[in-house]
Homo-oligomer: 403 residues x 2
């Protein structure tokens, strides 16, 4: 093979908001029509809260013609091919926040003050459409279903079965559990069991955080002038909030009870937080002095947190800087899965070919192959022969990455 | 000088619960009498939740005669001298959780479901007693007042003035702001102003966390069997929850508006989290690609987060392992202030002389002097000549620390 097979572990897709209507169960369409202008207003306001409307408009103006790949299949394939990407993991929320599923069932779920039935309906609308999108070519497209699990674990199990039957392969559940039990609690076991049995990957994607603490209780509609630096706080904490469910699952013994369960964490600035986090977790697993007064909290675990992490988890490394590629052994050589984040403005698209060279050029070829695609192929279970055949057509030449 | 002057940046003091009664304003004594058995039951139950009653009992049995130094001044001096400690920073909660101020006004404030007036009353009872304790020798004892600031900023300002007038020199405010505004919000400015004007240090001490998320909504009274690994989650997150207010203050521009305000963070496992945290904060301060879509959140800051941290903050490094002493430059050579954590079981007491040798032996003498005492003398404003005179009596011989 003279080309790398690239899998983007972090892509997004979503319909223009009004087009979700036909994918909703009919009984939710009336309330959808009422909610649509409010959702639009909140999205616009949210862009203002983040002081980013101008930047987003600028970004969109430059690449607008290709952003329709967020929902248009032919355009999407054109973009993927142009980026040299053979396969992709698809999360919700297409172009920035403008293509999120109805009723807050997107990256930032669970949203405050939402009726559970509506959020389930929004998630299902998105999942139906996504299953359609992926069905164009299941070899290339790994669709992640949205699952607002907290409201009802049995519904989550049903949605997992539906996802499997309809060709979706991951379940994105809320990173924030808020006032619900954390993921160490036994109530989620039926869901872990279903995902393990069905071979569905549990997925967390960055985005959520305690927005009211950052921007005030009226977020996104309130005035943020009284909350200086709130965006800085948000971006400083957002990765923590996405890793956090793993802390609960690791200590809770989820991977002890479900040894084949797979779990990914995506767009979490892998480099700065993960190595010290894993060192710290293992320190508490092995330490006996500082934590002795806290009694036994580990005898239900047969391995250290890092051992579970290496066996059961992987990292969707969006916008991956070169220092993360160089620090791959500390992060986990088998865990790093590069991602483009298309069509989000912070991602590599439309500069992917140059960006991947900047990130990986000169590193050992086998390592580059693993981070660009091989790790994702193994972890997410792509059909290697079939995806390599696509990579052989569209992937970048390996020779260009030589030192 | 042939001896090091040691300041313990982390000591604790508290009365046996019932003895706080006489320090309460009279109108709160009746409810205190009613609450006392409940508080005792909750403390006992909390020890069981942490599965640690046996360990604590064991610990107490071995050193019981000296634990009364948590409130008995003569015993305290005997312990400090035995440890070789010249000066100390005193936080609430004496022997583990058994000597906490009334009405939840201790390390874990704010407590859920507490009437604000009661928590203020409990804090004031503790502060009165602590001022008495410190008045025995203001050169040695730096008392930190408890201040449940969230309920009422004006009350906080009043308490700061009272603290100053009565010889206390730090204000411990809640690390968790919960549903109140975070510390980036302007509502706290009068308090920062008062602390800056009065020369009082704002103090955060580890302990608090979202306990209901770890142990269930009925914590500490509920059954924790459904929450496996909860203690592991708690100890893995507890340092984050104590550093967190700094993230809000740094981005919020608190140290920009109050350039002489001092703020310490104590018992937070400095080594694993702080260097990557500071690197990450500065990355977001300097970065323009990933966060460009988030607009301007830094033009109100004239320095980077790390610059403010180095200028305005310091770290109470309890139970300091040798790797932290060796990693002192990454953590901050001027920020590390060693602490004994007396009389908590995870601290160095009663093995302080051997422990400080294990931590510091063979490192450059000037650096050891700074970490053991010099940094705390400068940061907290001890009278250097007076405290060195005590150090010359009780401190460890410098020669013993030579390589």
């Amino acid at each position: 093979m003279d080309r790398f097979t690239i899998i983007s572990s972090d892509c997004h897709a979503g319909l223009p908001a009004q087009q979700y209507r036909e994918y909703l169960d009919p009984q939710f369409r009336e309330v959808f029509d009422m909610a649509l202008p409010i959702q639009k207003e909140m999205t616009d306001k949210s862009e203002q809260v983040f002081l980013l409307k101008e930047i987003n408009d600028q970004w969109r103006a430059g690449v607008e013609a290709h952003l329709t790949g967020a929902w248009d299949y032919d355009k999407r394939i054109e973009v993927l091919n142009g980026d040299g990407i053979a396969g992709e993991i698809i999360f919700p929320d297409g172009i920035t926040e403008q293509n999120a599923p109805p009723f807050g069932a997107g990256l930032s779920l669970p949203t405050k003050d939402i009726v559970p039935e509506l959020q389930w309906a929004g998630a299902r609308a998105h999942n139906r459409w996504l299953a359609e999108l992926c069905s164009h070519n299941p070899v290339r497209h790994f669709g992640v279903a949205v699952c607002p699990l907290l409201w009802d674990v049995e519904e989550g199990v049903k949605e997992a079965r539906w996802a499997k039957e309809n060709g979706l392969r991951g379940m994105m559940i809320p990173a924030m559990t808020n006032d619900f039990e954390g993921y160490h609690h036994g109530r989620y076991d039926p869901f872990w069991q279903a995902c393990e049995d069905l071979g569905l990957t549990v997925c967390f994607h960055s985005g959520p955080g305690p927005m009211q603490q950052f921007f005030g209780n009226d977020f996104p509609m309130g005035d943020v002038a009284d909350y200086p630096g709130a965006v800085g706080i948000y971006i400083s904490e957002v990765f923590f909030w996405t890793y956090r469910p793993l802390i609960f699952m690791l200590w809770g013994g989820v991977f002890e009870r479900f040894p084949k369960l797979k779990c990914s964490v995506t767009e979490t600035g892998q480099g700065w937080l993960l190595p010290p986090l894993l060192r710290m977790l293992d320190h508490h697993y092995h330490d006996t002095h500082f934590s002795a007064k806290l009694g036994d909290y580990r005898s239900h675990l047969s391995m250290s947190p890092t051992d579970y992490f290496r066996r059961n988890c992987a990292i969707g490394a969006s916008c991956m800087p070169r220092e993360d590629a160089e620090g791959r052994h500390a992060i986990g050589m088998q865990q790093i899965m590069w991602g483009s984040d298309y069509p989000h403005p912070e991602g590599t698209w439309p500069n992917t070919p140059g960006d991947v060279l900047a990130t990986f050029k000169g590193l050992p070829e086998a390592d580059v192959a693993a981070m660009l695609g091989g790790n994702a192929i193994d972890f997410y279970g792509f059909d290697r022969a079939a995806i390599d055949a696509i990579g052989a057509e569209v992937g970048p030449l390996r020779a260009a990455f030589a030192a």
